[in-house]
Amino acid sequence: MTSLATPRVGVVLFPGSNCEQDCVRSFRALGAETEMIWHGEKSLPDVDLVVLPGGFAHGDYLRTGALARFSPIMTAVEEHAAGGGLVLGICNGFQILCEAGLLPGALRKNVGLKFICAWAELRVENADTAFTRRAQPGQVLKVPINHFEGNWYVDDETRERMVANGQIVLRYTANPNGSLEDAAGITNDGGNVLGMMPHPERACEALLGSEDGAVILGSVLDTLGLSSATSGVR
C-alpha cells in the first residue's frame, strides 16, 4: 500500500506486553520505521507488518493469549492477515495468534513445568518464506527463548498437512519444551503469518550474544522492500 521504500512496522501494545520496546529498537536498527499500536484501537495505521510482541498480555491470566485475542485491535489484525498482510507473533504474540485462530494449534506448558530463559538453536526448515528468505535452508540460528508455555500442539491431520506444506519453518535442534515437530516457529497456510516462541529481537547485536535474530527480522524487511518495490503486492 505504501509506496515508500522504508518498511513500516506496527508493534501492538497490549496491557501486559513487555517486549514491545525491544522489538521497536531492533526493527529500527535494521532500518524499519516503527509505530506502536495500542490494543484498544479498532483500526491499524498504515503499516506493512504487524508485530505482536512478547510479554504477558492481560497477565496471561486464564491462559496465555486467551484474553488478548479479544482486544479491539485483533479484528483489524485479522483483516490485515486475511488480505495477505504480514503478521509476526513472537512468544506471547505467537500464543495470541493461536488463540485467535490465525495460526493452527495451541501452546501448552513446557514439559519440564518450568519457565525457561536460555539460548536455543533453531534450524531454518523452510528458507522460502517471507520471514526466512535471508537464511540458507538448514541454517542454524542462535536465538534465545523465554517462556513457560511454548509446547506447541496441533492435531495429527493438521500437523501432517503443515509438515507437507513447509509450515514448520523453524525447528529446535534440541527440543526444550516438548513442542510437537520440535516446532519453534510456524506459519499459516498462506505463509503471511509467522508465530515463533524464540525472540529474534533479542539477538540482533553481537554484544548481546548473537546477531542471528536479524536474519528473521531482516527477511521480513526484505520481503516488504520487494513487495513495495514491485507495487505493493500484499
Binding site: L62, R63, A66, A106, R108, L113
Partner: protein, 81 residues
C-alpha cells in the same frame, strides 16, 4: 435470576498432562502408592444473570467455547445451580 455456574476445564484425552504426571511421579516418595491417572485442570466459578437454568447453561457454554477453554486442547463441563 442469578445463577451460579461451575466450570471444569480439563485437557482432552490423548493430550499429555505433564502436571498430572509430575504429581504422579512425586507420590511414591511421599509414601503414596496405588495412586494413578492424575489429571490437573481448572475449575472456574462464576455468577450470572439468566432467564432460567437452560439459558444460564447456554450462556456459560458459549463463554467456555469462546474464552474459558481452548477447545484445541481442552474440554469443559458446566454445572449450573
Amino acid at each position: 435470576m442469578r445463577f451460579t455456574a461451575e466450570v471444569k476445564v480439563m485437557l482432552k484425552d490423548g493430550i499429555s498432562d505433564p502436571q498430572g504426571q509430575t504429581i504422579e511421579r512425586a507420590l511414591p516418595a511421599l509414601g503414596y502408592t496405588g495412586v494413578g491417572e492424575v489429571r490437573v485442570g481448572k475449575r472456574i466459578e462464576l455468577k450470572l444473570d439468566a432467564e432460567d437454568a437452560d439459558d444460564a447453561r447456554a450462556k456459560v457454554e458459549d463463554l467456555c467455547d469462546r474464552l474459558l477453554a481452548n477447545t484445541v486442547i481442552e474440554s469443559f463441563e458446566v454445572e449450573i445451580s
